[in-house]
């Protein structure tokens, strides 16, 4: 467990008497604070963790760990949004902890992955080797931003990102969603930068293609 990144994770009770251990009072009124947390933020935190860990069991564990750390941290927040971002902050650290542990145990590279995607997009031999196969070449998306209001667009984007296999999806979420720098991701996952770049390249290629086929070209190419 790392304590250096988050002030709320300190194991020792540095402020005795402060924590809102409302056991008696609020237990009488139904639910205690931490149980309310589960109701209020459980789903949100779970969704957040799922996007990055891509495994329900691991995501559940991360959420539980977050609430436990929050309980120990024992801070009382007046506003909902402050409380929520505080919990997200803890969850982020839990997710980093998980990556750190996982990278020690297993290799985090996945390089075979998506060779198919590349072979389906580019000519594999002969004169035009490495050129786009015309049917697979990028189409003009003409005003891509127009979809951002559409529920269907977001559902498509969601499904397409979920098609990225575990590690590639994780790397993509860290880099593009959370904006974590290359070096930091490599340190977190114990992979080399060139491996990271290959994984990101494949994630982008696959996601781009999936969005094109399932959203931007939908009219021409009914599934």
């Amino acid at each position: 467990m790392n304590n250096e990144t988050s002030p709320v994770e300190t194991e020792d009770d540095s402020t005795p008497g402060q924590p809102p251990r409302t056991d008696g009072a609020s237990a009488a009124s139904g639910m205690s604070d931490p149980e309310k947390w589960v109701e209020l933020y459980g789903d949100y935190l779970f969704g957040y963790a799922m996007m990055r860990l891509r495994d329900p069991t691991k995501a559940e564990d991360a959420v539980q760990e977050t609430f436990l750390a929050a309980l120990k941290g024992g801070k009382n927040f007046a506003g909902r949004s402050a409380e929520k971002s505080w919990l997200i902050g803890i969850l982020k650290n839990k997710i980093s902890d998980y990556y750190r542990k996982a990278s020690r145990e297993t290799s985090f590279t996945d390089l075979d992955f998506y060779t198919d995607e590349e072979n389906a997009s580019f000519v594999t031999d002969g004169l035009g080797k490495g050129s786009w196969i015309p049917e697979a070449a990028p189409q003009d998306w003409s005003s891509p931003g127009a979809g951002l209001d559409s529920e269907v667009f977001w559902r498509t984007f969601h499904d397409c990102s979920n098609k990225l296999p575990g590690k590639v999806g994780t790397v993509f979420a860290l880099r593009e969603v959370d904006g974590v720098g290359s070096r930091e991701i490599c340190g977190m996952l114990g992979i080399s930068e060139s491996n990271l770049w290959v994984m990101l390249h494949r994630a982008r290629m696959s996601l781009r293609r999936c969005m094109e086929v399932n959203w931007f070209r939908k009219k021409e190419l009914p599934e």
């Binding site: 149980e35 589960v38 779970f46 957040y48 996007m51 580019f122 984007f157």
Partner: protein
């Protein structure tokens, strides 16, 4: 004029990487600064290749889109904690508080 253009295109073509390579370089450019050699080659390629120009714009579009997808709660998966997990976590918290 046409001859000059054709010969220019041929020269650029000789310096230019393949589309496969160019797509990789355009992705890497989003993560780190390319070497001068790669930047030059990529630029030569993009002058000639409309598909790769489209490709580059589209993968750039994915970043803010992925960001927005995650940032807005309404775009998060509808799936939440299962009732069993919810109970388990509550139970664990309760035991921690005692």
């Amino acid at each position: 004029m046409k001859n000059i253009l054709t010969s220019l295109a041929r020269k650029l073509g000789a310096l230019s990487p393949s589309c496969k390579e160019a797509s990789r370089l355009q992705s890497e450019a989003l993560d780190h600064r390319l070497t001068a050699f790669d930047r030059f080659g990529l630029r030569c390629h993009l002058v000639l290749c409309k598909w790769c120009r489209l490709y580059g714009g589209q993968i750039k579009f994915l970043r803010p889109t992925a960001h927005q997808h995650a940032a807005e709660e309404r775009h998060l998966p509808e799936q939440g904690l299962s009732p069993a997990a919810r109970e388990r976590i509550k139970k664990r918290l309760r035991s921690e508080m005692e």
